[in-house]
Structures are given as structure tokens and as C-alpha cells.
Amino acid sequence: MLFLPELILLLGTLSLFLVGLGSPALETVRKLTIALMALVVLATLVSLRQDGSLFFESYRVDLFSQLFKFLLAAATLVVLIFSELSPGIKSEVRAEYYVFLFTAVLGLMMLTSSVELLAILVSLELSSFAVYIMVPMRSSTSAGAMQMESGIKYLLFGVMSTGFMLFGMSYIFGLCGSTYLSDIATRIEPLFYQPAAIIALVMMMAGFFFKLAIFPFHFWVPDVYQGAANETTAFIAAVPKIAAVAVMIRIVSLVSAEGQTVVNLLLVCAVGSMFYGNLSALVQKDFKRMLGFSGISHAGFVLFGLLTLSSQGYATSFYYIIGYAAMNLTCFLVVCAVAPAGENLAIEDFTGLHQRSPFLAVILAIGLFALAGIPPFVGFTGKFMLLVNAFKQGHVLAVVLAALNTAIAIYYYLSVVRVAYCSDPKGPASQVAPSGLTTAVSVLLLIVIVAMGILPGAFLSLTSAAVGTIL
């Protein structure tokens, strides 16, 4: 029962593998994947209140991990639904694509439960390698040869940051003599006067900086976002980041009050991410690339909650990443709907979207305004609470810089809303009509964005309760 969601996911992966051996109709594969993922979502819901540990205490099942698993599964389900028949993926490997997608989700789910260094490593690699393979599976008709280049870049940067992480882990093991996070937490506390402890922790974080796309581990983002298929990018932009936050919370909570150096370092990374992401996004022409840079700046905001070293801060980061996933998926939903052949979209391609599909235009506008942090959407509420928490810890200058970043960011989000709403299509406008299921999902995402923005209390107490179980 403790392992139920993962087991279902594993069985689903195997069944998809078996289905892929034949030559199934695409529609059948799609229906199967959606059904399986819906089953996983259900399983995570059923096991939400489970509590226990597995595999020699290296695998914790508690509200924290189960809530994250639910989010991972739900976000993946959303991606599966709006990617329709996954037109951006080579048709001959589409069944295999789903096998890797499921494997990646499995790895990420295990990651949220891992409380031992080797378990963390194994789960991380399980998910990473699956995603590395998903990137170059894009059909070359929609991307030229770009997908190969970005696949290689993703792999190389990923392996490098794993190397950093392993190096850090070896230091930690050397310092503490244990690979269990609970042992490490008590043994590392008196060691924070040593540079070794600080270096070890920061290097260990590097692996997740990579997943979360935090400066200076962000280099893969623009190329991978542009080179990967739209549905793959949607997945990469939302799902691994959720899991990365889970592990980051576990790692950051190892830092004791004396680890001010680590906090300062995280501050620099956070502010650097915001400026780098926002300033680079200003000049982008490709929509996915722009969202990639915006993702870097949002990762900076997530870090703002973590570096407060308070359970309230962790809960807010948790809250923010849920909101971010919803906002980001909303934007990618529109991308997938407007690009039925799976091609890349320039910002110009949204010109006159309000005529081609008024509904999608509203969805896109709300998603972008929310990302920009305009109230009453979740982007504002999340940022506001993150800034309040950082302010309480005395990081006043960083709060001011973060606030300024909001002003920079509005320009590029607004320029997309502008072409979608304020200009008319140049040629004869082809209508865009999302399928019924996609429409339902987009309405659901909208409700999440607005509800989390207006009534954050309920969500915040849920994430606080979840964070409370691990501290």
C-alpha cells in the first residue's frame, strides 16, 4: 500500500513497453496512457495519508512525499491530455516515448520519498536518463536537427551537475559517516564552521539547481526548451521542477542557523537567476525559449522561500511551485493547441489569437498575467508571500531587487498578450479548436490559478502540514 502509486506506474510502464512491441494505433496508445496516468493520480490520492518507511529506512512515505507524488502525477496527466496525439514526436517511437515518460515520472516520484543519499542518486538518474532520451525523440519534420543538439546539451550539462552532486555527497559521507539524511542532519550541525561542510552541501544542491534551472546551472534551458517537442518541453518545464523542490527542501533543511554562508550563496543564486532570466527573456523571439528564461527567473523566486530556512518559507516555496506548474502548463496548453503539427511557435505566431480562438486567448492571457505576478492570480500571491518571508529574515535588499524584477518581467509577458489581443491576424485566420478534454483541463487549470490566488489560506495550510511532517 505504501508503494502503491509507484507500483501502478511501474506496471503501466511495462504494459506500455509490451504494447510498443506490436504496432498499435496511436489513438489506442494515447487512451491507454491517459487511463494509466489517471489511475496513478487516483492511487496517489488514495495513499495520500499513508505513513511509513521502506527499504531499510531509505524511503519515507509521509504527507510531504505523497502530496508531491500527487502533484507529479496530476501535472503529467495534464501534459498527456493536452498533448493530444503528441504530433511533435516521431510516430514510430511514440509508444516508447510514453515508456520513457512514465519511467521519468517514476524516478521523480521515488525522488520525493528518498531520504538517503544513494536512493536520491538512483531515483534522480532514473528520471534524468529517461528525460535525456525523450528530448531527441522529436520528429525531425517539426524541428530540423535541433532536437539532437539540444538532447546532447541536456545530457552533458545533466551529467556534469550529477558529477558535482556526487562529489558533494562523497564529502558529506566523509564528514558525517552516514548516507541517511536524518543522521546527516544531526552530525553536520556542529560542522558548519568548516568550509568542507558548506562546499559539500552546496555541491549536493547543484544537481537540483540543474533540474530547477537556477543560475548558474541554467545553461541548458533555452536550447532544450526550443529543441524539444512542445509536449516534452511542457513536461520538463513543470514536472521535474516539482520534484526538485521536494528534494531541495530536504537538503536545505540540513543547513543550521550557523550556515549563513550557504544562505548568502543561495541569495546570490536567486537574485542572479531572476536578473539573468528576465533580462534574457526580454529579447526572445521564440515563445518556448522565452518561457524557458522566465522559468529561470521563477526558479529564483522558489529559492527565495527555501533560503529563509523556516518551515513557513518551505511551505511557501511548495505553494509557489504548485502555482508555477499550473501557470506554466496553462501556457504550454495553448502552445500545443496553436501548433497542431508540433512546430515551434514564435511570439508573432500568436497574432490575432483572439479571432482564431477567443477561449485560448483568454487562457493564454490569464496564464501570462499570472506568471507576471499581477493580482489576483497565484503568481502574485505566491511572490508576495515569498517576499514577506524573505523580509522577515532580514533580506531587505534582495526583496527590493526581486520586486524590481517583477517590473522587468511584465514587459515580455505583456508583449505576448499584446499580439494575441491587440493585433489582427495578417492573413485569413484559421480557427483553432481545442478538444473537449483539453478545454476541460484548461478550465481546471484556470480555477487552480484563480483559487490559489484568491484563497491561498487553504493551500498554504496544506503545504505547511506537509512540510511539518518532515521537519
Binding site: I410, S415, G457, S464
Partner: protein, 508 residues
């Protein structure tokens, strides 16, 4: 929370805030442009009528916040849904509620495409605007303050003129960038007031001088952009010129008032020391705005631009009145906010009516219509006279009070403001002369038709208020009197206290 008189009966203020929003949701599934127009007219009219109930129940003998409601909203952060109304905000709320039906009427034939989204934007705007004036929780205030940018951006960006994209983005960026530091100031105040966002309890607290100055600067940038004060005004002509008539009216009549309302409600009571320290700069910027706005208006060929620049000048009078910190000044400033809302709103409506006929805002294309549009020019004449403060009209009372307060504060400052009043007469009369009579080279205007009954109904109430406030300002002054008196007595008490504290320090 003794500053609040909690409303026991029907939640009138919440109804005022949320009824337009409910209207927007009612409009969503509607089909047919005509139905949407009537529905939004109905909703805005009900809100306008309800606002009159508010006036009837308003107690002018107290300075506390009336009709107050408070509910827990986000418990972990101690954010509450707290609203209330006092003498400073009631006139603004009522003005907002009364103007909105006329914005709908003014868009009746002006907006031809995408009528439903336009009306939804108007209704959402109304919710946010009324909310801003009654919010007593800083987070609630900030959320509504920022949220209104979205519908306003869309109103300018979709239904605007040829340079709408430039204008709408400039409007959005300016106002958003301006209010970013306000957010940091709010968080600081929250932290300083033992984690509470309740605005009345932030007032008259002994903060240090340096933080006060920083908070004042944050307030100042946010509010000065909105007012707009010279030199933060450059978004205004662009936005006004490109916005559709209803958008211009909302901008001029209501949105600009939020800046000055912010100064009275927040800057003065929350950071009084910094206000005293920095007030000379603000006052002289106001003078600069008055003179600059007037001179620029004198040179305009585009009627909307002319009125937009005249707004810069008029709002300069308002900020001048606020920061001279005496009773005439502040009461004059608040009255002048209402006057400017009535008069300038009406002038924009007039220009919109010409534009609907000639499809041009150029002064040279509208010369000599007096012969063919007698009713129209009668209205225009009254509003123009009111705009430069002709005795007997509303602006005379407001400007007179502001100038009286200014002279009481400092004679040099008063003398510096006088030319502004003269220039106002010059540019308004110039426009009036050209529109009514023009010259020998008038274009052929004989095909033009005079106002229809819908347009007369739209303009008549504005004229009523121009003359009512002009001839009998007493009832209006009475509404705000207690709150302004209270504000000033608190301010003077605070000043005396901090002077005493400084003397003790020096004495040591």
C-alpha cells in the same frame, strides 16, 4: 480596531464592490451586443443607486470608518478583508458609482466590435476601483490597485486608436513599475506593525525618520505616476488620446484620483515626518505640473491631448492643496478631485461625441460646429468654463480653496500657482472659440447632426453637478469635514510630539 464602525445590517459596501463583478459573470454566457449593453447599464445603474443609499446613511459627525466590514481572509499571513468608508473616500466612491453608467452610455455606439468583452472590462474595472477606495487592508488595496491594470490595459489596447499598442504598454509599464516599491513598503509596514496589514493602525506610529523617508519615496513614486505629477506624466497623454471615450473618462475621472487619494490616505498619516521633510519638493513639483501642463495644453492641436495636458495642470492643484497641510488646502483638494472627475470626464465625453461624427480629434476638423450643434456647444461651454474655474462652477470653489490654503502656507508658492489658473483660461477659451465659431476657413460642417437624446442624457447629470457644487458646495464639504479635521489634528499632535521628542534629545 476602534477606528471601525462595524456595519451590522446589509453589507452595502461589499455589494457595491462585488455587484459589478457578478454582472461581468452574468454577461459571460450572453449573446447579442444589444443585450450586453442593456445588462451592463442595468448593473452599473443599480450600483449607482446603491451608492446614493450610502450617502443617505453616512454619518457626517464622526471621522471613523463607517459601513465597515471585516472578515478573515488569509489567516496564516493575517490578511483580512477589511473595508470601510470615511469622509475622504465617500465622495470618490459615489462619484465612481455615478460615472460608470454614463461610461456605458458613452460606449453605446462608439464601441462596435467585441462589445461583450468591453462591457466585462468596464464592470471588472468598477469592482476594482470602488474596492481601492474602500479597502482598509493593505494587501486588499494593493491587489485591487494592480488588478485594475489588466482591464484598463485591454480597454486601451483593444478598442483604442491607431497608436493603441504603444499607449497601452506604456500605461501598463509605468503604473506597474511605479507601484513595485509600494509592495516593499507595504511589507515593511507589515513587519513593523507586528504583522498586521490593517491600515488605520499603521497611522501615526513613531517610525524612525530614515525608514519614513524611504517609505515616503515608495509611496510617492507609486502615487505620483498615477496622479500623474510632473515629470511622471508622460504616459497620460498617450493613454488618453488612444483610449476609447469610456476609457478616457475612467482614466481622467477615477484612476487619476487614486494617486491623490493615496497621498491623503497613506502618505500623510503613515509617514508624517517624511511628509514634513519632503513637502517643499512635492509642492514645487506641483507648481511645475500646473505651469507645464497649462503651457503644453496651449500648444495642442488634438483636443484629447489638450484635455489630457490640462489634467496634468489640474491634478497639480490637487497635490498642491494636499501638501500645504491646512484645512482649506486639503478640503479644496478633495473637492477638486471630484470637480476634475466631473468636468474632465464630461469634456472627454464631449470630444468623444465630436469624434463619433467627424472621426477626427483634430481641433481644425471641429471648428465652427456651433452653428449646427447648438445643444452640444452649450454643454461644451459650461464644461470649459468649469475647467478653468469660472465663478459659479464647481472648479471655482475647489481652486479657490486650494489657492487660499496655499497663500496661508506660503505667499511665494501661491503667487507661483496663479499663472496656472490664467493659462487654464487661455487654452480652454481658445478651444471653445475654435469649436463654436472657428475662422474663415472652417471645413463644411453642415452635414453634422446635433446631440441625440441618449447623448443629452449622458451629459446632463454632469452639468447638474457642475452647477450644484459650484453654487452650493456646503453639503459636499460637510461630508468630508470631520475626517479632514481629524486628519489635521492628528497630524499636528504628531508634529508637536516629535518636536518635543527632538527637544529632549537636543537637551541631553
Amino acid at each position: 480596531m476602534d477606528q471601525l464602525l462595524i456595519n451590522q445590517g446589509f453589507p452595502l459596501l461589499s455589494t457595491l464592490i462585488f455587484l459589478p463583478l457578478a454582472g461581468a459573470f452574468v454577461l459571460l454566457p450572453m449573446r447579442g451586443d444589444e443585450a450586453c449593453r442593456y445588462a451592463s447599464l442595468a448593473f452599473t445603474s443599480i450600483v449607482a443607486l446603491l451608492s446614493l443609499v450610502l450617502v443617505a446613511g453616512f454619518d457626517t459627525s464622526t471621522a471613523a470608518f463607517q459601513f465597515a466590514e471585516t472578515h478573515v481572509w488569509v489567516a496564516p499571513l493575517n490578511i483580512n478583508y477589511t473595508i470601510g468608508i470615511d469622509g475622504i473616500s465617500i465622495l470618490l466612491v459615489v462619484m465612481t458609482a455615478l460615472i460608470m453608467p454614463f461610461c456605458v452610455l458613452a460606449s453605446w455606439s462608439y464601441i462596435k466590435v467585441r462589445v461583450k468583452p468591453f462591457m466585462i472590462c468596464l464592470l471588472v474595472m468598477e469592482t476594482a476601483m470602488i474596492g481601492v477606495f474602500v479597502a482598509l487592508d493593505f494587501v486588499l488595496f494593493y491587489i485591487l490597485w494592480e488588478a485594475m491594470l489588466i482591464p484598463m490595459y485591454l480597454i486601451i489596447g483593444i478598442w483604442g486608436g491607431p497608436r493603441k499598442i504603444y499607449a497601452s504598454i506604456k500605461f501598463f509599464l509605468y503604473t506597474l513599475a511605479g507601484s513595485i516599491l509600494l509592495l516593499v513598503a507595504i511589507i515593511w509596514l507589515y513587519w513593523k506593525n507586528s504583522y498586521s496589514f490593517f491600515i488605520p493602525e499603521m497611522m501615526w506610529q513613531p517610525y524612525g525618520l530614515l525608514p519614513q523617508v524611504l517609505v515616503f519615496i515608495a509611496f510617492f513614486i507609486a502615487f505620483a505616476v498615477k496622479v500623474p505629477m510632473f515629470p511622471f506624466h508622460t504616459w497620460l497623454p498617450a493613454a488618453h488620446v488612444e483610449a476609447p471615450t469610456a476609457g478616457s473618462v475612467i482614466l481622467a475621472s477615477i484612476l487619476l484620483k487614486m494617486g491623490t487619494y493615496g497621498f491623503v490616505r497613506f502618505a500623510l498619516p503613515i509617514v508624517p515626518d517624511a511628509t514634513l521633510l519632503l513637502l517643499p519638493y512635492v509642492l514645487w513639483l506641483s507648481i511645475a505640473g500646473i505651469i507645464y501642463g497649462g503651457l503644453t495644453a496651449l500648444a495642442q492641436q488634438d483636443m484629447k491631448k489638450l484635455i489630457a495636458y490640462s489634467s496634468v495642470g489640474h491634478m497639480g492643484f490637487v497635490t498642491l492643496g494636499i501638501f500645504v497641510l491646512n484645512k482649506q488646502g486639503i478640503e479644496g483638494a478633495i473637492l477638486q478631485m471630484i470637480n476634475h472627475g466631473v468636468t474632465t470626464g464630461a469634456l472627454f465625453l464631449c470630444v468623444g461625441m465630436i469624434y463619433e461624427r467627424t472621426h477626427s480629434r483634430e481641433l481644425s476638423d471641429a471648428t465652427g460646429v456651433g452653428k449646427y450643434m447648438p445643444i452640444f456647444v452649450t454643454f461644451l461651454a459650461f464644461f470649459s468654463l468649469s475647467s478653468f474655474g469660472f465663478p459659479g462652477t464647481n472648479s471655482f470653489v475647489g481652486e479657490f480653496l486650494v489657492l487660499a490654503g496655499t497663500f496661508e502656507f506660503d505667499v511665494t508658492l501661491g503667487l507661483a500657482a496663479i499663472p496656472g489658473a490664467v493659462i487654464a483660461a487661455a487654452y480652454m477659451l481658445r478651444m471653445l472659440q475654435k469649436v463654436i465659431w472657428g475662422g474663415v476657413d472652417n471645413p463644411d460642417q453642415s452635414w453634422i447632426t446635433d446631440l441625440n437624446s441618449r447623448e443629452i442624457i449622458t451629459l446632463a447629470p454632469f452639468l447638474l453637478f457642475v452647477l450644484w457644487i459650484g453654487l452650493s458646495p456646503g453639503p459636499f464639504m460637510e461630508m468630508m469635514d470631520m475626517s479632514v479635521t481629524e486628519l489635521l489634528s492628528q497630524f499636528n499632535a504628531y508634529k508637536a510630539q516629535s518636536v518635543a521628542a527632538a527637544e529632549i534629545l537636543v537637551g541631553r
